[in-house]
């Protein structure tokens, strides 16, 4: 078939009209810029794993491990002494631990949103950021899990949370939102790992094949003999490590057919999953009868906030990576624009929720409810409320401006502010409602102890350690999916010799 089939149905009058209107050809910005070819994409992404470890990686890893040791110290201190080393004091029995848990779980949500919801919406731009974002999800869930696990007090009994037979012959109590959380978070973690792993199989196969090719060719142009043999040993390791993980994947059309179907199904399963997880997390609060918690707006408001903070974290991670590895052709301005716009959208939803909560507190005419909200904004924790409000509501509004979105350092700083704001949101929700409860005689001012601070600060180290390991050993981007959105992958597109196909 020739390319002029579309013109056949247009008669001369229509053609004259069409000429007069002179329709503009709208060109979408390419997802892979500078006309890169398949080999360039493969090499660029594989070299991140295959080349020598950069010095900055060692520096970051050292800092990350040192920071992570804070969590370890905090937890050892806690377990050997008791939950009293945290700043919890009746009636404030949920302090930083719950704040940190909700904060980290929320961060994870952007990864699933990118890999699942944007996949269902056929957003091609998700391809270059989804792998790193999914890794972020898993590591964030790991950090989140630490807090409720140790908050149970006697961590060696934490397995009682699961429906396993125990010596007391008592089962978990399934009417409790905390028990729902156990199922939601463990399912979320597991499904995220499955999704992440399945997406990686073709790329692991590529890394395996490249190691085998180098070993067969046997050319190691290193400066010394020792370095050459080290490079060889590394490739032998890669051959087996990636070989086992790739499960014998061989890029067959039949493989891709089942893989694509499985990917679509996992995306379809993860979409309701990600929405349900933060909904259930919000039930931890919303099912309670406490003023400030007992509201039906919580599920959508928590989900929007989670996606907001998650995209903040994706930007925090991807902007430095883009600069360090020179990935500007893969993570283009279009990607950054889109992420900023999602932050703007979800940030505005969060802002709407803050205002609507206030409105309902007044409109509902419940004196306890209205007190809780006035106390939030003007009480002893008003400083936290203002940090939350300015970071979450005002910061993203700057993303309306193109010049802001194009300024990478400014976007990076704003992405951090977003996460500061989202941590304070959880702090405001958790602490203000508890610190000033129904009995004024038991009111108090909650402050964290040094153990609280250490344990939380250390989780950033743990998160960074895991992320740096991911950078070093696993493919940062899905190579096959990036190739899929390139014009060369279109079976009906241009032949390389310029001949038009049908």
């Amino acid at each position: 078939m020739s390319s002029d089939t579309t013109n056949c149905s247009i008669d001369s009058a229509q053609q004259a009209l069409l000429d007069k209107v002179a329709p503009a050809t709208l060109k979408e910005q390419e997802l892979v810029t500078n006309n890169r070819d398949f080999s360039w994409v493969t090499n660029k992404i594989c070299k991140i794993v295959e080349s020598n470890t950069p010095n900055w990686w060692w520096v970051c890893m050292t800092v990350a491990l040192l920071t992570a040791s804070f969590t370890l110290m905090g937890l050892i201190w806690l377990v050997s002494t008791g939950v009293g080393v945290w700043g919890l004091a009746n009636p404030i029995n949920w302090g930083w631990a719950i704040v940190n848990f909700v904060f980290w779980i929320g961060i994870g949500h952007a990864g699933t949103l990118i890999s699942a919801i944007l996949c269902l919406l056929k957003q091609g731009w998700r391809t270059s950021i989804n792998r790193a974002a999914e890794a972020m999800t898993i590591f964030a869930v790991v950090c989140a899990g630490i807090f409720p696990l140790f908050h149970v007090g006697r961590v060696w009994f934490a397995w009682w949370l699961f429906p396993l037979p125990n010596a007391n012959l008592i089962w978990p109590q399934f009417r409790s939102p905390l028990e729902w959380d156990v199922f939601a978070v463990s399912t979320y973690g597991t499904v995220s790992v499955l999704f992440w792993y399945m997406g990686m199989i073709p790329d692991l196969g590529i890394l395996r094949d490249r190691a085998v090719q180098r070993l067969t060719a046997g050319i190691y142009e290193e400066t010394s003999k020792l370095r050459a043999s080290m490079a060889r040993i590394a490739d032998v390791f890669r051959k087996y490590f990636y070989g086992v993980l790739a499960m014998g994947w061989r890029n067959a059309g039949n493989h891709w057919r089942n893989y694509e179907m499985a990917y679509l199904l996992l995306a379809g399963l993860s979409t309701p999953l990600v929405l349900s997880v933060h909904t259930i997390v919000s039930f931890d609060f919303a099912v309670a009868v406490l003023p400030g918690w007992h509201t039906t707006i919580f599920p959508p408001y928590f989900v929007a906030g989670a996606i907001f903070s998650g995209f903040g974290m994706v930007l925090t991670l991807m902007l430095p990576l883009r600069a360090l590895y020179g990935l500007h052709d893969l993570i283009t301005q279009r990607h950054i624009d889109n992420m900023c716009k999602i932050c703007l959208g979800t940030g505005s939803i969060v802002g709407y929720a803050y205002i609507m909560e206030f409105f309902i507190a007044w409109y509902g005419a419940n004196p306890y409810e209205s007190f809780a909200f006035i106390n939030r904004a003007f009480g002893q924790y008003s400083w936290a409320y203002y940090i939350m409000f300015s970071c979450n509501v005002f910061t993203p509004q700057l993303f309306w401006f193109k010049s802001v979105r194009e300024n990478a350092s400014l976007v990076w700083i704003m992405s951090i502010l977003i996460n500061v704001g989202m941590w304070f949101e959880r702090f405001v929700i958790t602490v203000t409602s508890l610190a000033n409860d129904f009995l004024p005689s038991s009111w108090g001012y909650y402050s964290p102890t040094i153990v609280d601070v250490f344990t939380f600060a250390g989780t950033f180290g743990l998160f960074s350690t895991l992320f740096l390991m991911f950078l070093r050993f696993l493919p940062l981007m899905p190579i096959g999916e990036i190739k899929f959105v390139m014009p060369q992958a279109d079976p009906h597109g241009h032949h390389e010799d310029g001949k038009e196909s049908h």
Binding site: Q173, T187, D209, M247, G253, S270
Partner: protein, 177 residues
């Protein structure tokens, strides 16, 4: 045994060529053959004459198992084996265990999906003769290939080679088993 042949591979210069070549191999009536590319190609299953993937069956089976497991587990634990009186709620209702039922449905459906993908692709596979071919390893980079297996009834060392050449294939070679 050393002379046993797995099949014949041919390379194609770009995605449209591979796509149209696949249509021709399908129309020529070959049964044991496949295309190889480092990325999924839109519409390739149709061009290869493959039916819709059967992975959803595994997903459904997994999801149904999860839903059943979640429902019976909550009923058994909180209403049958050790009835717990909590806040005057019923021992069992489809409402309060819904999050648990829902999450287990998704969990087992996801396992079913991944397992189904492995089963339908006959993975994990320890050995495949195609990896003996140096050019086949280049599929991981940018090479696009079609491989016709010797066990196909129509396979013939000379005629198949000519056929692959006629549909635009180059670098044609036989791969040892």
């Amino acid at each position: 045994m050393s002379e046993e042949i797995y099949g014949m591979v041919a390379s194609f210069k770009d995605t449209p060529s591979l796509y149209h070549a696949a249509e021709k191999v399908r129309d020529a009536g070959f049964k044991h053959w496949d295309t190889y590319s480092s990325f999924p190609i839109h519409g390739m299953p149709e061009a290869q004459g493959q039916a819709r993937s059967k992975v959803p069956i595994f997903t459904f089976a997994g999801g149904l198992t999860g839903l059943t497991l979640g429902t019976t587990m909550v009923w058994y634990m909180n209403a049958f084996d050790y009835p717990l009186i909590v806040g005057g709620y019923p021992f069992f209702s489809p409402v309060f265990p819904f999050p648990v039922m829902y999450e287990l449905t998704i969990l087992l459906a996801a396992f079913g999906t991944l397992g189904g993908m492995f089963i339908m692709n006959l993975l994990p596979q320890h050995y495949n003769s195609l990896f003996n071919c140096a050019k086949f390893l280049e599929v991981s980079d940018n090479r696009l290939m079609i491989a016709i297996e010797a066990k196909d009834g129509q396979y013939d060392p000379i005629a198949t080679k000519q056929f692959l050449e006629s549909i635009g294939g180059f670098d044609i070679e036989e791969v040892k088993a």
